[in-house]
Structure formats: structure tokens, C-alpha cells
Symmetry: none
Subunit: 277 residues, 2 copies
């Protein structure tokens, strides 16, 4: 494990327990068994660390639910699978989920706030796509409102397994929320969040991932990954992004090499978005 990963894991645990502000760099380095100086060899600052954590896990979460919505072929079960995937991800990375909920609107750091909004919008987009696919014209006026209901459900119910250590039947939970969502989609008529209001709320942020950002993420992944296929695919794609030199078919093939690798699928998602595929 790289030092960077070691630090991130230690920090994750402490941030989840105490919150970001209340956790000192000293505590993190002691918990990781390294010196304070070593921390600053991996991260320029404490802020850079939390942003790294947010990026890492949010990308994984988003690529997970995006994958389900894009590739699940049984519409009847899609809602169910969506919730199951989301909650499974929360449970798997419960320390991160705690941090995410805690720092969601509590931070002072400007960059972090816009990061959060950015990811929130990506989630919105995925939920919206799902609702459109499932209900089409039926929800044309209510879909923006429904996004908030879905997120409301996810928030309240996720508290259950995040902050009370209760064993829960995620399958039943997903089924229950799928039923509720479906009921609202089919019968709710009084919409509060219209398309216009939704657009107004979100017009604040509209930034794409920059070339530099995506290159940095790929480089980080290359160091992290040992498997030759994935590693080589990443190197080739990195060069292609610096200066396009591969045919669409090759790019697509390389991306599919990454799609099913658990630690590469989020970068695969980012690349698909960046290359507009």
C-alpha cells in the first residue's frame, strides 16, 4: 500500500469518528504510524487530504450507481437495484459515508463546497436519468421533485446503519423504497420543484473536469494499480488525453478493460464522461 493510501485510510477512520475539524494531523500520523513530516510528503495540506478522500469515494459511488442505471436491463427491478447499490456502497464505505454526511454543509473550505455541489449534481443527473427511463412522459412535470424525494429517502434511511450499529436487511429496505418511489412517480401531482426552479437552483455550478485534473487522477491510479492490463490501458489512455492518437474503437476497448476492475471503474466513468462517449 502506498503511503498516500495508508494516510487516507487512517484519516478516514478518524474523520468518521471525530469530524474533520476536530481531527489533527498529529492524530492521523500517529494512527498511521508515520511521522508528521511524512504526511506533508504525500499531501500539501490537511485540506488537500479531505478533498482527495471526497474525490476518491464519490467517484466510486457515482460510477457504481451510474453503472447500475445505464446497464441494468430489467426496468422492473431498476429502482430496487439502484437503492441496493447505493446502500451497499454506503455500508461498504461507511466511514466515508459518515464523513460525507457530516461535512456536507458544515465546511468552510470553498473548494470543498463546490466539490460537494458538483457531486450532488452528478447524483441528481443519474437519478433523473433513471426516472426518465422508467416513467418517461409520466413524470415530465414531477421528475425534478422526485429527485429530492429519492435523496430524502437515501439520507434518512442511511442514518440507520451509519450511526446506529444495527444489522439491517438492505434487500428489504431497497424494496420498500422502490415501492415508495414508484408510488410517488405514478400518483404524485402537486410538484414543488419545477424544472424552472431546479434550473435556477443549479445554475450556480457548471464546471467540467479539466484536462489537468483528469491526468492527475490517471497518474495516481497508475501508481496504485499493479495488474498489467489495467495499468497499460491507463498509460495509453493518458497519452491519448494529452494528445489524441488512438482510434475510437481502441479507446472504447481500453475503457472496457477498466470498467470491470473494482478500483478502476470510477476512473473509467470519468474518462467516458470527459471523452463524451
Amino acid at each position: 500500500m502506498s503511503k498516500k493510501q495508508l494516510i487516507m485510510e487512517s484519516a478516514l477512520e478518524l474523520f468518521a469518528k471525530q469530524g474533520f475539524e476536530a481531527t489533527s494531523v498529529q492524530q492521523i500520523t500517529e494512527h498511521a504510524g508515520i511521522s508528521k513530516g511524512a504526511f506533508y510528503l504525500s499531501f500539501k495540506s490537511k485540506d488537500e487530504l479531505i478533498i482527495g478522500l471526497i474525490d476518491h469515494f464519490m467517484l466510486e459511488f457515482i460510477s457504481d450507481i451510474d453503472h447500475v442505471v445505464k446497464n441494468h436491463d430489467n426496468d422492473k427491478n431498476l429502482l430496487n437495484e439502484f437503492y441496493k447499490t447505493a446502500f451497499h456502497s454506503f455500508q461498504k464505505h461507511s466511514d466515508f459515508a459518515k464523513i460525507f454526511i457530516k461535512e456536507q454543509s458544515q465546511t468552510v473550505n470553498e473548494e470543498l463546497i463546490s466539490k460537494m455541489h458538483h457531486y450532488d449534481k452528478l447524483i441528481d443527473k443519474i437519478i433523473l436519468g433513471m426516472l426518465e427511463r422508467l416513467y418517461g412522459e409520466e413524470v415530465i412535470y414531477t421528475k425534478y421533485d422526485l429527485i429530492y424525494c429519492v435523496k430524502g429517502f437515501m439520507h434518512t434511511y442511511s442514518q440507520l446503519f451509519l450511526f446506529f450499529n444495527v444489522p439491517l436487511d438492505l434487500h428489504l429496505l431497497s424494496q420498500s423504497l422502490a415501492e415508495k418511489t414508484s408510488l410517488l412517480a405514478k400518483y404524485a401531482e402537486t410538484t414543488f420543484i419545477t424544472e424552472e426552479l431546479y434550473k435556477t437552483l443549479n445554475e450556480t455550478l457548471n464546471e467540467k473536469v479539466t484536462k489537468a485534473q483528469i491526468l492527475e487522477i490517471i497518474e495516481q491510479k497508475i501508481e496504485e494499480i499493479d495488474e498489467p492490463t489495467e495499468s497499460e490501458s491507463l498509460v495509453l489512455l493518458k497519452e491519448h488525453i494529452k494528445e489524441p492518437n488512438l482510434s475510437p474503437a481502441i479507446v472504447k476497448g481500453l475503457l472496457s478493460n477498466l470498467k470491470d476492475h473494482s478500483r478502476c471503474k470510477q476512473v473509467s466513468y470519468l474518462l467516458r464522461n470527459y471523452l463524451e462517449l
Copy 2:
């Protein structure tokens, strides 16, 4: 205005903007135009201040919605009035609402956590009473689940006017949520939070379960369960709790016998908590 009130108002503003941890006593006293020493004449510590704030506003909020539920005589409009009152209160005390959402699960302070749980339970009770009054037998199995839906709606939609400064039509919002709640109450069937799960959650929140309580729960389960493995495991664990006589490995094994049985996993959870495993 008393010095105490002056300090509370200044702190409210700063906590809402920056969070509790990130706001220093110095900042508060400067903002209030008093000396640092004067702060400690009114409050024994910074923690006492935040607890005072939580108490003050939560009591007002809770008495507001309780009053609506208890005294509103037109059942047809009750849901609507409930949401309107809640959101009106959020809007009127938006600084406090921000603090409440931010610190809800982020704080380290033990007293504050139990305060929060206490008020959360009071809110639950009010919502539950409202649902029972409106739908009676109809929601006998779904009402605990519905509490979480109502709170989910309140949480997501309140973010809108708390963190985006957009003028919103609270009347329409309340109407929309009342319709949604009513739909779920009438048609939702797949309940996730059963009465038993709800009670389990709230028991663990409270002070620790006592030995007598846990023994009683186990005895009740033993009578309820027919399967020999689960039943025998319960009997052995009961003896172990009366007087510890089993090795950690055996205890762990017995608990895992219970974990996957749908009607035993709650008691398994309680035991794990009680035995601090």
C-alpha cells in the same frame, strides 16, 4: 437584552456560518462587543453555550409542531399545516436550523449527542401521533416507516431554503409534501421499519440496556422461537449473561447462530451491544 441573550445571538450567527468547532470564543465575544471574561460569566464553557442554544430552539420548534397536531381540528388540512409550521419555524430560525443540521451527527460531545437523540425522539412521537390520528388502523404496520419518510422529506426540502438563498412558496411546498405523505400512508405496503425494529433502535439509543431488561427480552424470544439451534443458543447465552461461563469464541459462535434468523437478529444485535462485542 440580557448578556446571555446577546451572546447566544452572536454565537448563533457565527455557528451557522462556520460551524461550532470552527468558531472560537474570541470570535463570539468580538462579534458581541464584549470581553472574553464576560462570556464566562454567562456560560461555564463553550459546550454549555451550544447546549443552551439547542435546548432553546428545539423546545420552541417541538412545542410549535405539537401545538398544531394537538389542536388543529380539520384533519383534512393537518398534514399541510404540520409541514407549513415546521418549515415556517425553520425559516424563522434559519441560523439555528443550519446549526441543527450541521451538528446533528457531527459532534463529539456526549451530552449533546444524547440531547439530539432526545429531541429527535420527541419529534418522532409527534409525527407518530399525527399519523395515528389521520390514518388509524390503516397505517398500523407502516406508521414507523412513515415517520422516517416524513423526516426525510423535511430534511431534503429544508436544505433548499437554508443553503440556497432562494425565496420559496412554503404553502406550495407543504401542500406537495402533504400529498406525498398521504399517498405513502394510503398505498405503501412494503414496510422496512417495523414496530420491533423501531423499538430496538430507540432502546439502544437510550442509556444502556440493563441486565434485567436483556434477560427478559431473551426469555421472551425463547418462548417465541421453535427452531432448536436458535432456541438452544438463546438459552446458553441467557445463562452466560446471568453468570459468564462461556469462552469468547463460543459466545461469538452462538451469536452468529442468531444473526441470520429473521426474528432473532434484533436480539442478537442487543446482545452484541450489551456484551460490547
